[in-house]
Amino acid sequence: MTVINVTLPFGLIKKVDDYSKIINVILEQHISVNILKFSTGRSGINLLLDIPEDKINSITEALKKNDIIVNKKGRVIIDIDLCIDCGACVSLCPTDALHMDEKGLLEYSLERCLGCGLCIDACPRSAIEET
């Protein structure tokens, strides 16, 4: 399974049924899906979804065709002055966006971060913030 972060822009929500647009588009692909996180963001409804790895391309395409945004950019900020490179966040990151480099320093890869936020309350220094 692989994790994607999708946003349904508020502009696309005209009636109550539109809220389930993301799920409906995915269900049309006849696959099962796990909803890891639901949140209301500044620009729309965010869903963090766990989907079968081999279906990622077809799902991304179908979502985009329906004007649903598939996010790939990072969603957390790490305060490096507070961070002590312990690693308490690393095991929680589903995409290895948070990882240790060879020296043992925490590295954060913006491209890989999906903004699931699992790391935020795992940080003993409160150094991770959601953007």
């Binding site: 002590i84 690693g87 308490a88 690393v90 929680l92 990151c93 043992g104 003993p124």
Partner: protein, 490 residues
């Protein structure tokens, strides 16, 4: 060949001492062998930087005029312990602030103090003839006070376990956030860099050993609490002058829903007095074993699932039940290395001499459990028979049973006695209000449950956290064997 402490110190003074970090020693011995290493290497430095809950500091503020004898005192709203003379106190790192608990605690006070930040001191007294002042509210920095002594009853665990979670929900522990169904793993300790791993028989580390502590100089002042050498869980009691330390190596931390603690930086030099120590300090992560322990079971003796090497732990994932799970450290390897490196430089620069311990640490003590005078009660001791109805019965029958049996909870089962849900008297009231007649419409299907062998306190916590008043007791096949309600607990 053997060496003595004075020979090594002579070399330190002369500037020709040979020092390696514990990681470098592994490669050296690998390449040149133990014999050459014992001849050529004088000191091996170790380091660790991780959360150490048994840490704190003694402070002395000096006397006020008129004098005060503190009864209670707070440093930045963190209650400090006052059971000593008038203006002494002990600030412990796990004590949380009264106003913002789980955000700020004693460890943060110590970090702020070492950083030179002003600390708010509030204290009160019942007053005596010799100490008439009733209240103090002031600010101070580390330079304003007489003594600031870091004094940690248990630091530098020889090794620590690797924590996982078998339960179905995320748990928040002192081993960090553990995802359900073995979703991740956390370990602590620096492995081959850890001080006591490099002197596992406590030949050189003992009472009076001079060490790196919190960026300054400290001393081992004995065995740590819970020192358990017989199963290689040795610990150290450390002290040092906080005024010489740096915040880089003393960091206040908060573990979500657990509480506060402090990262402490500890580095210990090990003199290579003989071949035995050369061999021991060359221990690698492959040869350091610890247990993978299931923190999903909230008991003292948590299930040990397998043994694992620090090499596997540091690889980023461990294997469990044929599955790879992500694994990360709670201690900082980077800072542990930096500590070993810093201590090495202190010795190379002639600023740090080694000394033999006045007494070595005990090698045969064991870690006892708490003696309880009252017997631990389990669910099976307090449960009662559950009032049950079958899943296909009418709401009215459930209602009648509630009245007849004078109870608030009816457990719903199928013909095999398997748990299907629970209905409370409130659910019945709601059914009448909403004109519902089908049991299916009012039943709570996702039920929190307990088992016979669960301690009562754990069941009570489950009810409190989930704001519920009863837990059906089930067996391993989810068959209902009773119920425990808040009434039995009172």
């Amino acid at each position: 060949m053997t060496k003595t402490y004075s020979e090594i110190n002579e070399k330190i003074r002369n500037g020709n001492v040979v020092v390696l970090t514990a990681e470098e020693m592994i490669d050296f011995v690998d390449e040149h062998g133990v014999k050459v290493a014992a001849d050529e290497i004088d000191v091996v430095t170790t380091g660790t930087f991780g959360p150490m809950c048994s840490s704190g500091a003694f402070l002395n503020f000096g006397n006020t005029d008129p004098p005060i004898k503190f009864e209670h005192l707070w440093l930045n709203d963190v209650h400090a312990y006052h059971g000593n003379a008038a203006v002494d106190c002990y600030i412990g790192c796990t004590r949380m602030a009264d106003i913002s608990p789980f955000e700020y605690g004693g460890g943060h006070v110590i970090e702020d103090l070492v950083s030179g930040k002003p600390i708010r001191l509030k204290g009160n007294s019942y007053t005596t003839d010799c100490y008439p002042l009733a209240e103090v509210d002031t600010e101070f920095t580390i330079d304003d006070i007489n003594q600031a002594i870091l004094c940690n009853p248990r630091n530098g665990y020889q090794r620590y376990v690797c924590a996982v979670n078998s339960s179905e929900k995320t748990i928040y522990t002192y081993m960090g956030k553990l995802l359900p169904n073995f979703g991740n793993a956390h370990y602590a300790g620096a492995g081959s860099l850890s001080p006591l791993s490099n002197d596992p028989d406590y030949e050189t580390i003992g009472l009076g050993t001079r060490i790196f502590l919190g960026g300054g100089i400290g001393y081992v002042i004995g065995e740590g609490t819970q020192h358990s050498p017989s199963n290689r869980f040795g610990t150290l009691f450390l002290k040092g002058n906080l005024k010489q330390m740096t915040p880089e190596y003393l960091r206040g931390v908060t573990y979500e829903k657990y509480g506060t603690s402090m990262f402490v930086g500890v580095g210990i030099p090990i003199p290579i007095l003989n071949e035995g120590l050369a061999k021991k300090t060359a221990i690698s992560d492959e040869n350091l074993l610890t247990d993978v322990v299931d923190y999903g079971v909230p008991r003292r003796d948590r299930p040990k699932l397998r043994q694992v090497t620090y090499k596997e732990l540091k690889s980023g994932s461990i294997e469990l039940n044929g599955k790879k799970i992500k694994c990360s450290s709670l201690s900082s390897l980077f800072h542990s290395r930096k500590i070993a490196e810093t201590l090495k430089n202190w010795i190379l620069n002639g600023n740090f001499l080694l000394n033999p311990p006045a007494e070595t640490l005990p090698t045969d003590t064991i870690f006892k459990t708490m003696k309880l005078t009252s017997e631990l009660k389990f669910v099976k001791d307090l449960k009662k028979d559950a009032e049950i109805c079958y899943e296909d019965c009418d709401v009215k029958i459930v209602a009648e049973k509630i009245v007849r049996k004078n109870t608030n909870h009816i457990v719903i089962i199928d013909r095999e006695h398997t748990l299907k849900g629970i209905v409370t008297s409130f659910d019945i009231t709601k059914a009448i209000a909403e004109d519902k007649h089908e049991l299916n419409e009012i039943i709570t299907k996702r039920v929190f449950t307990t088992k016979d062998n669960e301690p009562i306190s754990n069941a009570a916590r489950k009810m409190k956290i989930n704001k519920i008043s009863a837990l059906p007791v089930i067996d391993d096949e989810r068959k209902v064997v009773g119920i425990i309600t808040s009434e039995e607990l009172m």
